[in-house]
Symmetry: C2
């Protein structure tokens, strides 16, 4: 069986669950080797004593947070590069954020990847973490940021020798990019700058996001890569038609190599197949990188362009049209040729959840504060069919179904909280953040800016040939000139932030010595 | 019986509980009249549906927050002046923050005073709010700020007509000043500026505050007002001596008009009397205003100077020296001449707690996150006697004693959390805050700056003749020229912040119209 993506388990009407990072299916588990994807080396460490609840005091319970650590290039008081982990186990982030590893030597920096609570090995209540909202309720972005603050303080003052004046630069992609931006917004005394890649920080109701924009961008990226809109919509129509008859369903079952348990057996079943395919399109745009990657799924370089070679023309028959879509699915799930069957029906594939780590984590976050409007308005706006509008009720219905058994009730979902807390359309006082976004990536539309822009030291930059946080990936021979340029720009900003901070604490130290008239141990750092 | 101050109930060794605002004993209860101290008019309103826990999602429970509201001068899209209520019932703040009422007409502004959760009528669990840490644990500054954010959003978008583009300027004194500064630091998308008066934002371990500085400033203010240090220390010594004998205790009991239940009966009892007197000194400096006030206690203008008329010279006898201190106590507690007896022993006066509203609220806050080092190093540094050092254990011992019965355990106290969350020595990205402090006021030393200072749009200003948040008080014929000047300066800054924001949203509206090509309802405001 193929490694099922979290993304592929959405029901058609609940695209709300689309996961901006989709790191879950990272193919390499390094917990034992402690050596990353491209040979990055790190120690797996654990910090105990992290408060379960930073913002209230009903309990003194603490938990243990996992992080990865490498100090081989670190020099006294030089920077700490800190990844604000997102919705998945930590290995995927360490492996796919080569940029941090690449620049560590030149900055003589320590590298830290921090795991997000409730993911990977950072389970506050062990195997009971997801068993009730009494436990799972402590999964929130605010708590995660406070965990990172706790860890940063610990690393600077206790774990790393000679780091009390180190600047801390945070990095993150997707939801992790939101976290790194928010880390700088909310804890500017602890971190000096942020590289927030493909962070849809303004993808909320109060941001005025257009609910159907995601699939419109999916469609834009595919059509600009050579796909013919009508070829795609015809394919989906064909599947509906074929699904009406036994013969048609038999054709589809064989074409898509559906596993027995997920075979189409009645007319409505074509819906789940169509949703399954839709999500392939929605995922592939995120990973439309110029060289082969295994980020969401093993894929060739520029996979969207290759997919579009199957969807250039309108077909003569339903079968032919359906085959066009199958070719895309086959590319996505079977590029390595090792997949012999597919499970497309989320109702029966749910067992695959277990293999993915914490697949209910992101859904929970979308059922509480990360309420990000997503739906399709259908052709000709996009390749798909109308399931808009997206309303609070859309979310609640899903959340009730998914989390009702562990205690979800209306009122747990707070669609305006994230923007009330972080800001809906601007960060009026923030400084030192690069918000990078890829034009190919649908999430880019919810970014800090949709074009290149500079507001003080807030920098918005668009990679015209960029998919989801491409710039965070490690150097590659087939990198675009553009991404090299952007990475160099990011390097320069980091250099500047580090230098400014260094000047500041050295000046403070000078004043402190002057005032005290002694050569004591100047430790104040924020 | 005199109205016992919260401050007067500290045991000598736990000055940690000193309350920066001490609003508890406000003499005027306006719940029924709905007209403030100087005739300020407001409606008492209640906002239901405020989440108990903004930062986690274990519960959908909500509570009702009280606020006072006046829109008589409000004009469309003009500012909202918003008081971030602190540790006491709301009336005291509305009555003693005349500055907001005074400037509302010229700004055509709405005025809002928001109550802090767990104080006054804003009890999230009714009369069970203080009964267990399961409930009381939700009393924290972070939750309070989020309540204010919730209320601001509600007022702007629902309660006040034509306020969706109103700027919001927050005001606060003492702990309320900390909250108003932190509100701008953490929610700059919701509030455009802050007047943070006498806010000891850097009075924490990680700020490097000198633990004995409070009483050193108390002593500085008294001696610079004419007190002779030796006269005061002699008085305290005399009380110790007199406390050794039956005759001496009889003299003290009569001199201080001690109630039966709080009479000195054994040698050690002189300790509680000395502590009681010490707290009079510590309180009086906070309210050393130039004209008669009833803020902590009814007092004449410049009470410290008057107190020092009793402490100019060393005495010839213990009795005479003790009488010098009594005169100060009598001034503080009996200026109106209506007090016939005093209760000085905190162990037996505890019953008076009930009359003060929520006297355990601030102690709870000091037992969780507001861990502000306070102790005396004794003469000649200060008037008192050594009870330093102040350590985490000092706090825990007190908290265990006070809150052990409702569930306090080690680990609830998190002395580094406030600074980790808000910053220990700087607010690196904050803008538009005036931090005012009074040189007479001990809390000034923990302020954003100890001298006049300007860093971008962060302004530190010292009132040489100022006590605790004097500038927030309403205009008075006997105001100093200095406070008039400072208030005018604050007015100018507010004007500037309001104007900048107005220009910004008008520009955004213009761009929005241009982009949309329509004259629709532009509602985005942050």
């Amino acid at each position: 069986m193929i490694p099922l993506l979290f993304l592929s388990l959405f029901s058609p009407s609940i695209a709300i669950l689309r996961d901006p990072a989709g790191f879950h299916a990272g193919p390499v588990d390094l917990a034992t080797t402690k050596t990353g994807y491209k040979g990055y080396k790190y120690q797996e460490e654990f910090l105990s004593g992290v408060p379960i609840d930073h913002f209230s005091f009903t309990t003194n319970q603490t938990f243990t947070l996992r992080y990865f650590f490498n100090a081989e290039h670190f020099q006294c008081q030089k920077p700490i590069l800190f990844y604000t982990g997102n919705e998945g186990k930590l290995e995927g982030f360490a492996d796919n954020t080569g940029f941090m590893w690449d620049i560590a030597p030149e900055f003589e920096a320590a590298v830290i990847f921090a795991e997000h609570r409730f993911y990977g090995k950072s389970q506050p209540f062990g195997n009971q973490s997801y068993s009730s909202i009494d436990n799972l309720g402590f999964l929130s972005s605010e708590q995660a940021l406070a965990d990172f603050a706790f860890l940063i303080e610990h690393m600077r003052t206790k774990r790393i020798k000679c780091a009390q004046h180190s600047s801390v630069i945070v990095f993150g992609g997707s939801y992790g990019g939101m976290l790194s931006a928010w880390m700088r917004v909310k804890y500017p005394h602890l971190v000096q700058g942020a590289i927030a890649a493909s962070a849809p920080v303004f993808w909320f109701f109060q941001s005025g996001i257009e609910e159907d924009i995601y699939d419109r961008i999916v469609t834009r990226t595919f059509t600009s890569s050579g796909c013919e809109l009508n070829a795609v919509t015809q394919g989906f129509d064909a599947i509906s038609h074929l699904g009406q008859t036994d013969e048609g369903r038999k054709f589809l079952n064989e074409l898509f190599k559906l596993e027995d348990k997920s075979k189409l057996t009645k007319a409505d079943d074509s819906n789940f197949l169509r949703a399954f395919i839709k999500e392939v399109f929605e995922s592939m745009v995120m990973v439309d990188y110029p060289y082969p990657t295994s980020f969401l799924s093993p894929l060739p370089g520029w996979p969207v362009k290759l997919a579009c070679s199957f969807l250039k023309n309108v077909s003569n028959t339903d079968e032919e049209a359906a085959r066009g879509l199958f070719n895309v699915v086959n590319l996505y799930y079977n590029y390595t040729g090792s997949t012999t069957s597919l499970c497309a029906n989320p109702d029966v594939c749910a067992g695959a959840f277990a293999a993915l780590g914490d697949p209910l984590g992101w859904p929970w976050q979308t059922c509480t504060e990360m309420v990000m409007p997503l739906c399709s308005s259908g052709a000709p706006n996009d390749f798909f069919w109308k399931d808009c509008p997206y309303t609070e009720k859309t979310a609640i219905d899903f959340c009730q179904k998914t989390f009702g058994s562990i205690g979800f009730t209306d009122g747990i979902l707070r669609p305006n909280w994230a923007t009330r807390n972080y800001g809906a359309t601007s960060f009026p006082t923030a400084t030192n953040i690069v918000f990078s976004n890829g034009f190919l990536d649908p999430w880019s539309v919810g970014g800090w800016s949709k074009e290149n822009k500079k507001e003080g030291s807030l920098i918005g930059v668009i990679l015209e040939q960029g998919a989801h946080h491409y710039d965070l990936r490690g150097e590659h021979p087939d990198d675009t000139e553009e991404v090299k340029r952007i990475r160099n720009m990011e390097r320069s900003y980091i250099k500047q932030w580090v230098k400014e901070y260094e000047m500041k604490w050295k000046e403070e130290k000078r004043k402190w010595k002057e005032e005290k008239g002694i050569n004591g141990n100047f430790t104040a750092f924020h």
